[in-house]
Amino acid sequence: MSDATPILRGRVAAVLGPNIDTDVIYPGRYLNITDREKTAEHLFELAWPEIRSRIRPGDFIVAAANFGCGSSREQAAAALKFSGCGAVIAASFARIFFRNAINLGLPALVSPSAAIECREGDELEIDLAAGEIHNLSRNLTIAAAPLDPRAIELIRSGGLIPWLKAKYAAPAAG
């Protein structure tokens, strides 16, 4: 079990526009890095390298629609997670990124208006199961889609690998 819980608290490290592609999140030249922790060194490296240094553990990335479009590279989700990002909140996600994030234990929450109602530095509290975002800095409640219980289960397990590991280890242990 990781310490990820459905209630998260952190600051907004960046508010980004629509169609943030995975090449911008994690450049193709580093795809031969297969050590997940090391991917963090190249987060947003070409376009906005300063974001990485702004992220404190548990902070959030907020974006407009279609976050994570393009390449299926899982390193994009890994780089966010291992940079300390606690969750990505976007108006919508490209489907492969969404699955990659959940499978790595990185919460990805859909909120149509978060990119409008949050500014960099805002303090947020997020209830993944209820689909609620409280912007504590602005005293606003921002609607989001509740995260699917299966996704919450994977996040609680720390991702698909620990989840499968537990599933296949269970018969031997029992």
Binding site: P18, N19, D21, D23, V24, P27, G28, R29, L31, N32, I33, T34, L46, A47, A65, N66, C69, G70, S71, S72, R73, E74, A77, S92, A94, R95, I96, R99, N100, N103, L104, R150, G159, L160, I161, L164, K165, Y168, A169
Partner: protein, 410 residues
């Protein structure tokens, strides 16, 4: 039911499925390229000793071939050893295959009605052969290697009917770029796309692959062109229908301008964009018909002195055919360089990286910031014909201007 619904119903053992239902489907084919190394690591972490079915796994090296660095050489080596240990027969090493999507197609791995997953977003390509084919991440693929199944949300379907005739020098690439320009980069997010209509039914398999391949760039989960073996039901329900008439809608070639694939303009709207590099290749447009049109345009002409032209056949077989038919000879005589069959510079790793300020016209599939090199370079996406013509002219141009006799000097 639509094609996506039919295939998912069959693969999940149900009589019917409807959009937004979650189903667990058996996977018929699981493809990976170099990121098989990421999959391998995740698989070993899970701790199950054997893959679910070595016959259903295909591994093809294409992103970094031959190995461009010691690090890549080490990952290639690790995957080769894993493939041997697990008895995975369908492994295409350097010099044995080419770009994964071309190799799967050429070797008959994909059949109509299959569920195909690949650790590559352009896995949608295989809808050209009637498969529900979609991209997944490496960790998820490790789960497939263990269990041979995966959960899917049943997608709603967008139907795209294409009628009319292609104008001269207009091709499947221009059609799909035009569609992406209309619906936007997120316009088909999570959806299936069914292409049909007389114009699609007249297309070659290679051109149908272009439509399904680039559907990914409007977010599609899967895309299909018609096959004989499986068809949507007459009463299938569609979320939306789009009708395209080639004669009226797409009279000239289309170009996706920096830095998004939905930033599409007709070629005539681009006045005097100088081109430093032209790239003809990729899983989108590196097939024999693409090399043929380039050879036709470059025959008896020269690549512009300020431009370099990089040709990348999509596979060993395409390369061999293009050689036997004289296309490569024509292209090399015109001043092109021929890269080995693989992804080449499309993913920004090697074999044609762009410097700051450089402009590339490319038959590939993405023009994101820094996709092919410097964050300050500019990639324009176009058809093979426009790429070849622009290489001759040294600027982005409609092929008709290069081919016209009175302009033979350009």
């Amino acid at each position: 039911m639509t094609l996506a619904e039919k295939i998912l119903a069959r693969a999940s053992g149900r009589s019917r499925v409807a959009p937004d239902e979650i189903v667990v489907a058996q996977v018929d084919l699981a493809m990976s390229h170099e990121n098989a190394d990421l999959v391998r690591k995740a698989f070993l972490e899970i701790g199950v000793p054997r893959v679910w079915d070595p016959e259903k796994i295909v591994i093809i090296f294409d992103h970094r071939i031959p190995a461009e660095s010691e690090k890549t050489a080490a990952t290639h080596k690790a995957v080769r050893e894993f493939v041997r240990q697990q008895g995975i027969r369908h492994f295409y090493d350097v010099g044995r295959g080419g770009i994964c999507h071309q190799v799967l197609a050429e070797n008959g791995h994909v059949q109509p009605g299959m569920v195909v997953v690949g650790t590559d977003s352009h896995t949608t390509t295989h809808g050209a052969f009637g498969a529900f084919a979609t991209g997944i991440g490496a960790t998820e693929m490790a789960g497939v290697w263990v269990e041979g199944k995966l959960w899917f949300k049943v997608p709603s379907t967008i139907r795209i009917e294409v009628e009319g005739e292609f104008a001269p020098w207009v091709s499947a690439k221009d059609l799909i770029l035009w569609i992406i320009g209309k619906v936007g980069a997120a316009g088909a997010d999570y959806r299936a796309v069914e292409f049909d209509g007389s114009a699609v039914r007249r297309m070659t398999a290679a051109s149908r692959m272009v439509l399904c391949n680039l559907s990914m760039e409007m977010g599609a989960k899967v895309a299909f062109t018609p096959v004989m073996e499986i068809a949507p039901d007459a009463g299938a329900k569609y979320e939306r229908a789009i009708h395209v008439n080639l004669d009226y809608d797409i009279p000239e070639p289309q170009v996706a301008c920096p830095h998004s694939v939905d930033n599409v303009k007709p070629v005539s709207a681009l006045a005097d964009v100088p081109v430093h590099q032209a790239v003809l290749g990729s899983c989108t447009n590196g097939r024999l018909e693409d090399l043929e049109v380039a050879a036709c345009i470059l025959s008896g002409r020269r690549v512009h002195p300020q431009t370099r032209l990089i040709i990348i056949p999509a596979s060993q077989r395409v390369c061999l055919d293009a050689m036997r038919l004289g296309y490569l000879e024509t292209l090399i005589e015109a001043g092109a360089i021929v890269n080995p069959p693989g992804c080449g510079p499309c993913v920004g790793v090697h074999q044609g990286i762009l410097a700051a300020g450089e402009v590339c016209i490319s038959s590939t599939n993405r023009n994101f910031i820094g996709r092919m090199g410097s964050k300050d370079s500019f990639v324009y996406l176009a058809s093979p014909a426009v790429v070849a013509a622009s290489a001759v002219a040294g600027r982005i141009i409609h092929p008709e201007f290069v081919m016209a006799k009175e302009n033979a000097h350009v």
